[in-house]
């Protein structure tokens, strides 16, 4: 029973991701990606990791994708599906690099297949996860939260700077703001 559900979800996740890449319209692509994230979230639930499943939906589907959708709807790109297709010179490096990563993933899975740890038979309580996280990796958690704070302050500074000096070229400043936000997740 659980195996059947897993294979359905895995198929949904893979097909959703492929369609999200191949779809030219950004809003459709976002919806495919959200579908795929949902399928992955339920897979995590099947693997007895409800906390990861819920965070997958809250953070990725509920926060990051909503922000993407907000930006795309604000910009109103018109009809991007009628635009030009990328030339093969542009997508060939991407294809080669992704082939390398897929090949290495397959190698790792094949070589370690026998030693794979069996998933926990019972769901891991949140208390256990948080104890491990905050007692074992407290410094790392603090470092990451500090970095998030840096990104936040940086984005705020760049946004203020642009608002106060209208002489700044409009194309450069928003790029830098979005660049500093990208570091945060």
């Amino acid at each position: 029973m659980e195996q059947i559900i897993f294979y359905i979800l895995a198929a949904v996740a893979v097909i959703g991701t492929v369609l999200a890449i191949s779809e030219k319209h950004p809003v459709h692509a976002i919806l495919y990606l959200v579908t795929s994230l949902f399928a992955v979230a339920v897979v995590f639930y099947l693997l007895m990791a409800p906390l990861v499943a819920v965070f997958e939906v809250i953070l990725y589907a509920g926060a990051i994708m909503v922000l993407f959708l907000f930006v795309i709807m604000m910009l109103d790109l018109g009809h991007p599906e009628k635009g030009f297709s990328p030339h093969w010179r542009e997508w060939l490096p991407a294809l080669l690099l992704s082939l390398v990563s897929i090949a290495s993933l397959v190698m790792v899975i094949v070589s370690r297949h026998s030693q794979l740890a069996v998933p926990a038979a019972q769901s891991i309580p949140i208390r256990e996860v948080s104890r491990r996280l905050f007692q074992g990796h407290g410094v790392a958690v603090e470092l990451i939260s500090l970095q998030l704070l840096f990104a936040l302050v940086g984005a705020l500074y760049l946004g203020k700077q642009q608002a106060s000096s209208p002489g700044l070229p409009p194309s450069s400043a928003p790029e830098r703001v979005s660049g500093s936000e990208e570091k945060s997740p």
Binding site: V27, H28, L31, V34, P50, L51, A53, V54, F55, V57, I58, A61, G62, A63, V66, L67, L69, F70, M73, M74, D76, S123, P125, I126
Partner: protein, 331 residues
């Protein structure tokens, strides 16, 4: 995992009853809202269909089902058709984790009166509440109309403003109950409801859930004075009905959640637990209707200001104070 036919039958019966009761309550909440608003505004309200207008929801349903289901020619067809369902489903799903009564015993088995006791119940609610916005945003975008698009964008901006304070207002509840499970949160309130310890968190949560179900004073995405009907301008017939009923289901579910988190859940003297739960949930729903009859609509930037500069810092200070108090109480 082996389940006897009796267990499966009990579970299916529970699902059916919950589904029926929620949909009926949503339909009659529409009528109640119209009557209460009429009462506030010194009118009579709908009182012609059946005794006291009690059959009005049925008449509305027949009207909505027989109306033409209109699709604008420039709309994104599939997304336009799917969006109302995307708006209504998360609202119904959220009810799965709410305990609406004390466990009862049927045929020698203990039946908990909730659909699923997840140990991440609070996070499940937050996840569903953050994806509920997709129906509104996609519906507004797919209609290909300027009013709908503005409504959808406003809905997304509204979500970003209130979501954080809503999540943070629940942190003290989790700290007091020592659990993410809604059953454990209700059990922790068996003597004193959390509203006594956490009045600030309750007010922040109440303001945030008013924004969550897009009610006045936060009905910015549909603002009928400015945007015709906002994100559902182009919808007609039962698809509009689905958006509409989804909003009322959301009110009932959020009323149930406010009851569970702050008002002691189904605990209460004299009356049976299910009755207590219903009374408390409907009291929250009545508060929503009362607010609609009393307050004007906030502006777009006023909501963002309120969410980011008032509610979120206040919720953070509240978490700090709760932690301090818990540490002092433990030592």
């Amino acid at each position: 995992m082996t389940a006897s036919p009796l267990d499966i039958a009990l579970f299916a019966a529970k699902l059916g009853v919950v589904f029926f009761v929620i949909l009926t309550m949503a339909a009659y909440l529409v009528l109640a809202e119209r009557r209460i608003l009429a009462w506030i505004q010194d009118r009579k309200g709908p009182n012609r269909v059946g005794p006291f207008g009690m059959l009005q929801p049925l008449a509305d349903l027949i009207k909505l089902l027989t109306k033409e289901d209109f699709i604008p020619s420039a709309a994104d067809r599939w997304l336009f058709l799917l969006a109302p369902a995307m708006a209504a489903i998360p609202a119904i799903l959220t009810f799965a984790v709410i305990p609406f009564g004390a466990p009862i015993t049927i045929a020698g088995r203990q039946v908990p009166l909730l659909i699923a006791d997840l140990n991440v119940g609070v996070l499940f609610f937050l996840a569903l509440s953050s994806i509920a916005v997709y129906g509104m945003a996609i519906g507004g975008w797919a209609s290909n109309s300027k009013y709908s698009l503005l409504g959808g964008i406003r809905g997304l901006a509204q979500l970003i403003s209130y979501e954080l304070s809503m999540g943070l207002s629940l942190v003290p509840v989790i700290m007091l109950a020592h659990s993410f499970s809604l059953t454990a949160i209700v059990d922790a309130q068996s003597t004193v409801p959390f509203i006594v310890y956490q009045p600030v968190a309750f007010i922040i949560f109440l303001i945030s859930i008013t924004a969550e179900c897009k009610r006045i004073p936060f009905d910015i995405p549909e603002a009928e004075g400015e945007l015709v009907a906002g994100f559902h301008t182009e919808y007609s017939g039962m698809r509009f009905g689905l958006f509409f009923v989804g909003e009322y289901i959301n009110i009932i579910v959020l009323g149930g959640l406010a009851t569970t988190f702050f008002l002691g859940g189904w605990h209460g003297p004299f009356l049976p637990p299910v009755v207590w739960f219903t009374i408390k949930s409907l009291a929250v729903a009545f508060f929503f209707i009362w607010m609609r009859g009393t307050l004007p609509r906030l502006r777009y930037d006023q909501l963002m200001h309120l969410g980011w500069k008032v509610l979120t810092p206040l919720a953070l200070v509240n978490i700090l104070a709760t932690g301090w108090w818990l540490a002092l109480a433990a030592s």
